[in-house]
Symmetry: C2
């Protein structure tokens, strides 16, 4: 029963700030991930962060390839989770817009590095995907 794991930790140069025990989550990242789980949520948050209050239709066109069903659904969840605020101007042709709550805004800000990473490494990412597609004919 002696511990066979000999972790020769050689001072990780960077990245180290995850509090070990949170109530219910393995770490802060875990908690965050559960909130932004969903194919479009990060994109929605990010878009709203950039554009300010946005009408449904605009959002729909901005987040490419999203369907009404999905967009509405994710927006509802984000709203229920207190990340976005829905404003319904009770007008004749429906008019509604969505904006970030302070909490949502803070999350959106935490997403910025991911966006930057993506921009910086588009080349690698593209290569990766090209490979994924050509390397097989059915799996995945």
């Amino acid at each position: 029963m002696s511990d066979p794991i000999v972790n020769s930790a050689q001072t990780s140069p960077s990245v180290q700030s995850c509090t070990p025990t949170l109530p219910g989550f393995t770490c802060g990242l875990d908690a965050t991930l559960r909130v932004i789980a969903g194919k479009w949520k990060p994109l929605i948050l990010y878009f709203l962060a950039q554009g300010g209050p946005t009408r449904y239709g605009e959002l729909r066109r901005a987040v490419r390839d999203v369907s009404d069903k999905m967009l509405i659904q994710q927006l509802k969840e984000l709203e229920a989770d207190g990340l976005v605020k829905r404003t319904d101007y009770k007008e004749v042709p429906p008019r509604v817009d969505y904006s970030l709550t302070p909490l949502g805004r803070s999350l959106a800000e935490a997403l910025v590095p991911l966006c930057s990473w993506g921009e910086t490494h588009v080349a690698e990412v593209s290569r990766v995907f090209a490979q994924r597609d050509t390397s097989n004919t059915g799996a995945r």
Copy 2:
């Protein structure tokens, strides 16, 4: 100073750095998200970033609730995508460990803000989930 975010009061567009048109992606965030899609990938990356080279079993125990199938699968993808490196010491009782490539490390670093966000807002997040659970008996 390195912080691009100018968090002013409100109604002002903070968060703005997403290059409008990338080849194939709607923006950098989109690209990133496709790479880290998968329930456990961010957690795996993050954990590896903290612990340095890690053996399979350790990882397995660290990322709570993950099954062998899933862990292996995601590790393979991460490896194929050039984010992690697998080292197989061809030993008698199998011994393998995983570590981040430079690319993987850079991504892991971009995840740090998300982790911090989660830590900072555990309270809110917990509330959200409690609500999700109690607010219904079948939907969602």
